[in-house]
């Protein structure tokens, strides 16, 4: 009980910029829950469970809570969403991305210290870049699912994802720096 109260004090004493980042966690969780519901997965209890887990991540982003949320989210999708491709996959993936990024930033800095604007901007730009690539993956997956390559199964998707990952790694390694 004392630990929970300490977490609450930590949240109440957090700086405004830090609170905004924590609001991003909740935004990501709500986005995923909404997309999950629109994709026809789960029921009210599952959606409320996601929101509750999202609130737990807001309260303690530096603990296991974000991992639990991600695990629960992917498992719920797998168990209850029938379609192998749905337009709501995109907001769901973006919700997961936003939640993870905001939780990682919150866990990286002391809650009471204001987060510099340049840091928030750079993290937002990175998230935007990964989100753009996710849109690409989502589009390709849609194409492959709607026009399946006979006999290949998910192999094209795996190859495409690996190729994207390699390209991203190459970009990150040799990107021009501002220093």
């Amino acid at each position: 009980m004392r630990e929970l109260r300490e977490l609450w004090v930590d949240l109440r004493s957090a700086s405004r910029s830090h609170l905004r980042v924590r609001a991003g966690i909740l935004g990501g969780a709500l986005l995923f829950a909404l997309a999950y519901a629109l994709a026809g997965g789960g029921n009210v209890i599952a959606w409320l469970g996601l929101v509750a887990l999202g609130l737990a991540v807001v309260l303690q982003p530096h603990t296991l809570a974000p991992g639990l949320f991600l695990g629960y989210a992917v498992a719920s999708w797998w168990a209850t969403v029938e379609a192998t491709w749905h337009w709501a996959l995109l907001p769901a993936a973006l919700g997961i991305l936003v939640l993870h990024t905001a939780a990682a930033l919150c866990a990286s800095v002391p809650a009471q210290a204001p987060v510099p604007v340049t840091v928030v901007r750079r993290w937002a730009e990175r998230t935007g870049l990964v989100a753009a690539l996710t849109v690409l993956v989502w589009g390709l997956a849609g194409l492959l699912t709607l026009r399946p390559a006979t006999g290949l199964g998910p192999l094209p998707g795996i190859v495409g994802l690996t190729l994207l990952a390699v390209l991203l790694a190459a970009y990150v390694r040799w990107r021009p720096t501002d220093r």
Binding site: R2, R5, E6, V9, S13, S15, H62, L64, G67, L70, G71, V74, W77, W78, V81, A83, T84, W85, L89, L90, A92, A93, I96, L97, H100, T101, A104, L105, A107, S108, V109, P110, Q112, A113, P114, P116, V117, T118, V119, R126, V130, A131, L133, T134, V137, W138, A141, G153, P154, G157, I158, L161, L164, L168, A169, V172, R173, T177, D178, R179
Partner: protein
Amino acid sequence: MTGRNDLWAPTPALVRLLTVVLLTVPVALLWRRPDLLVLVAPLAMVLVWSLVTRPSQVPERRFSLSHALLREGEQALAVVDVEPVPDADVMAAAVPPAPFVSGVPLERRREVADVDGIDVKPTSVVADAVAGEAGGPPLADGPRRLTVGVRLTRWGVRRIGPVQVAAVSPWGSFRWGPTGLEPLGLRTLPQPVAFDSAAPAPHPRGLVGTHRSVRPGQGSEFAALRPFQPGDRLRRIHWPRSTRGDGTLYVTSSYADEDTHVAVLLDAHYDVGRSGGVDGAASSLDRSVRAAASIAEHFLRQGDRVSLRVLSARTPLTVPVGTGRRHHVRVLDTLSRVVPSVSEETDARRVHLGISAGTLVVMISALVSPDALTQAATLAGRGVSVVVVDALVDPRQGEVVASDDKDPLARTAWRIRMLEREREVRAITAEGVAVVPWLGPGSLDVVLRELGRRGRGRGQGRSA
């Protein structure tokens, strides 16, 4: 200070990326669910990005303070310089909470109390390891400076640190630290409380100072007009009187200005009460130290000579007689190093305090230990003017604060001790030692006037 945190290590964020991606991909392949691959695609990208940008170098860091000396209630900066390393993204530093060291908020914020009811003060800072300050241009190569504002709320040598410093890589996937930097001590001088005595110090003896002497000499206060004598300065000729008379030149004579030696004795055997710092309640030692600082400042400003002696087993400090602004800082610096400690073996009557006749002794004490009273009585017996300032009296209430101990026996013991104390004070007053409570401005006026009158009376008696 190095330790096992002095390296780049994976964070829980990286572990959860790895776990989710490595568990989901086989499931997606085995169950032919490409949607799961899309779902974890952003996490996979973040994972690759994180692994590619893993930092390898440990940053060099240095900790310093913006000030070496402060007054209580003032602020200083804890400065941490960290050399940026490739792929470090965000840096943070935090000063751990310490007694009478509070953080200075960087933005307007509401007061929040922690689980123990203590106000949470921000003592941490975050800096961009890549770019410069918000909106500013990128920094040139060089250390990134993290500054944490701290406010010192009580006199003494305050420990700042060990400062914890940490950095994370992009996406917060690898973290260096938090690693502690050696703490530094910051000397905090007591804040003199309002004190303004209009009464002169008794028994001025020196040749310089602001107190008027009974002897004529170089000074600023007018004494009389007298005929010119060889050796008088021409600028002292009083021309209006000289031109009116019989042709004799008259000069203005003045009284000599003198100073006095004020010996401040600080009884630091006990610290009774709980100190709330400069903004809160004061303990008896708080009142003693601040009163000593005020008295020393007052007399030094008048041009008198002041010495200080601290009566404590742990810090038996002494400042010899001196005057001037630098001497004032020396006195305050010594006061900031006072640590209360009782000396059980001391025979107060045998302690040699190096005080000669004509010195004004101001003893500041909570009068809890009989030692201080015995010393005051011994000095008064030698014919020294002694004023005892009672530091146990709360200036706001004008009396000794009752014990708030929960134990009824402890409260009873306190009452009994206070009754004994009253008896001891009455006894010492009967021996000619003035005991006054410390009540701020003008506390010593009545006593100093009384001592001065007594001194003059004795002087006139001797001359007659």
